[in-house]
Symmetry: C3
Subunit: 350 residues, 3 copies
């Protein structure tokens, strides 16, 4: 028992006070890709185009696929066909109706959406977005070659200990060329987007529908050792749901718009439904340092446990052994009441 | 005493090691609203228009009211009238002066703001924004019908335990129609904006001036039980100040601009002072799991407390009872000094 | 020993249960500045221009310097000259090549960049950004006069205790004029940007290259005292690397673009490389409140430590003192085996 407690005390650092990490993260993405489609022609995409919002913080989004709806203006147009919007006559439509998945407010008219299909007319940003067919392979599938530099500054307030994930031992020239690798380059803070899909599913899964990837930086540190032993440990985890049977808005996407105004003052916009990878940089960890208080508490508890040994011995000797009556006689002193002359068992346990 | 300690040990889970939650949140808003004003005409607002910034993270902003200043260009115009900007002649104005609430830099001239009022001229984005009158009721008051889907993925690193707030027991069809309700649908992660104003004050208070609402997700889990017992608990709390007597920028608002460039290359912008509800999704919690170390520490402490009983008994018997001299005689053995033959009280306490 | 333990118990609040802070932050910047350059002419910059993204959350960015590349359109142009892009003939260039620092995809041609220099032609947003020369002094160096209002609402879930950093004792008129000062105004939540450069290096260092500044709010509270004693403590810390020898992307910057569309439907953009100060508002702290459980644990440990005194006494008396044989005789009772009549040392330690 005493051995195991000593082990616990030393191994689990029972003599240390602990503190939680306070962290700040900045990120920087590098990479260029080119697309060539009939709708958009030859087009180059750089950081300012695909990182949204442009400032990389704890959360960084890289667009890998998109549905662009050009030249939307406020006006009247037929709704996207689905169960609730199909109509044969204006009687199927309700003026003023807005459904959960509506793109606008119904006017009460029924209008041709295509040669064969009619849907309720709406007032909306027209034409409405048609997101039934996602580009496959992903429009910006070459995003897998982009690199992400993660800068992380941590602080343990209680010990006033700070450190950066760009370790002092790392040279500037190394940083210009290195790519993180758990075995060969565990302290290089530059990641390639492709790396985050362990099973090579980047192009097929991630890039098309998007996803959320956790980049976990673990700063567990024993501050009784030199500061150079306190180093970050990176790990990765997919945060959105992989199960295909749970498909309420699978992957990761959001909509945003670029607004334009022509010379006549008419507003128009380009609506973009952006699919891509959101990187959540999650920093956690605990630091420990020798401190007299937890030491005393744990030593105290440990001693109390040692006491158990004595108590257990006594119990065995006094209650379970054959000769227990004999030991009991020796163990307890019976105090004779000097007034009544009667045996009295205040019997202080000796 | 021993009973109470056992209770503490079991009830407060003294035998468990704990860990803090690491969390990732994504959000998605749905809803459409229509406005009809003389200035803007009939206009439909969708997600890309009122969610700013477009990507919902831990923090999500839904615009409910706004002051739009159209067609601002850099130029000269009279400042907004207030105590410090009113003037009778150019002598009341100081060229180059910029006050705390200025919209631009003063040129030193005095200029007519309206038929009756003159103010100092400034170089600024002109015309300057006039935010003295807020639209009442709120411009986008129908925002109360919008819905917010909150997806939350948590992780307890020490136990390598992950879970999502969309529980495995929830079906996809349920998710398509459910709305959170503390009693009937406590695990539905979809909220209606209206819900966040318990007292029905949405349209009157929140929507007009904006506010900050905390959506708290509590993941306190006992991991000794099956994982299915670890479920999120939602609660809501208003984070901005409700007291009307403390009105330094009450509610919640911020300014942003949409930039345009006409064919002659002149920059113009639409300045928007956006009022609305900022939702801060705050995830917290602790998980506990049986572990030998805290168990030993707490058992140790507990045993030491049992020891108190013995010590207290002794103290009572030896110092406070009438017959204390008699017990003391029995309790202590006086060691006779075999050299001097004198009573000596090394008296080891037995 | 017993004295020191009591001290530890009282001083370190061993009788308290603790909880970590849950926090929400909003920020608001005020300030106007004017620039006058040959490229842009006289220009005024307000909050909507230099706060990016416009909504201030935990992280707030104020632009202090920028490199603007006007009127970029997708097309062909020579790459920025550096070691890898200089060429003499088209044989030095590889069609389709994209390097780590490329601005676009090479076409395989060699083209004049200036009268004396030729570089490989690329398809990119043209003309490419030239960020070799940073404006010195910083373009928006007057940003040092801007003020930042930080609103912070904290919560200790375990004790259901909430508080705001705008203390109830602060009047609205005070808030309109005060500026934080560690000595005279320690509870004023309004900061001047200039303050964050203790050594007056704002204009020279920070404003030009940008940087990351941590605004730390410490909410350590003893909730056994009145709530009015629980107040925030502000401190500041530079988070980016100050060492000039470690210059992998020093300071803080990011790129974003404003997109325009002319009447013919051609997209153009203004690319801005924004340098500035990112303020990370980091809220941390622990609250403690009397609770029976930690009290019992710590009292237990303490008592166990008191026990050490007795044990140590015994050890000294029995093993190290000259007269030890005499005391041992008194301390242990030797139990005679009543069957064998032989001394037997089960000797229960008394």
């Amino acid at each position: 028992l005493s051995f195991s407690y000593s082990w616990v005390f030393v191994w689990e650092k029972g003599y240390q006070e602990t503190d939680s990490v306070v962290s700040s993260v900045t990120t920087k993405v590098k990479g260029i890709t080119v697309t060539n489609t009939s709708a958009l022609g030859l087009r180059v995409w750089d950081v300012a185009d695909y990182v949204i919002p442009p400032q990389g913080e704890n959360t960084l989004f890289i667009m890998t696929n998109l549905i662009m709806t050009l030249n939307q203006t406020q006006g009247y147009c037929p709704e996207l066909p689905d169960k609730t919007t199909l109509c044969n006559s204006s009687e199927d439509c309700t003026a003023g109706y807005i459904g959960t998945h509506s793109n606008g407010v119904q006017t009460g008219k029924c209008r041709k959406y295509s040669a064969s299909v009619s849907t309720c007319e709406i007032y909306a940003w027209c034409p409405v977005e048609n997101d039934t067919h996602l580009p496959r392979p992903a429009f910006l599938k070459d995003a897998e070659n982009f690199t992400i530099l993660v800068k992380n500054n941590i602080w343990y307030p209680k010990f006033n200990f700070t450190k950066r994930n760009i370790l002092p031992s790392i040279s500037t020239t190394y940083l210009k060329t290195c790519i993180y690798d758990p075995k060969t380059d565990p302290f290089c803070p530059i990641f390639r987007v492709r790396q985050f899909s362990g099973d090579g599913s980047f192009v097929c899964v991630y890039a098309v529908q998007g996803g959320v990837m956790g980049v976990q930086i673990n700063w567990n540190c024993d501050l009784d050792k030199p500061a150079s032993h306190c180093v970050p440990k990176y790990s990765f985890r997919r945060l959105d749901n992989k199960d295909s049977d749970h498909t309420v808005s699978p992957g990761y996407n959001f909509r945003f718009a670029k607004y334009y105004r022509d010379t006549s003052g008419t507003d128009s916009r380009t609506l973009i439904k952006a699919y891509g990878i959101r990187f959540d940089i999650m920093v956690f960890g605990k630091a420990g340092k020798f401190d007299i208080i937890p030491t005393m508490i744990n030593v105290g508890s440990g001693l109390a446990l040692f006491g158990v040994a004595t108590v257990l011995c006594d119990i065995v000797v006094l209650y379970f052994m054959k000769k227990r009556y004999y030991y009991r006689e020796k163990k307890y002193k019976y105090v004779e009441d000097y007034e009544l002359g009667v045996n009295n068992t205040y019997g202080t346990q000796s």
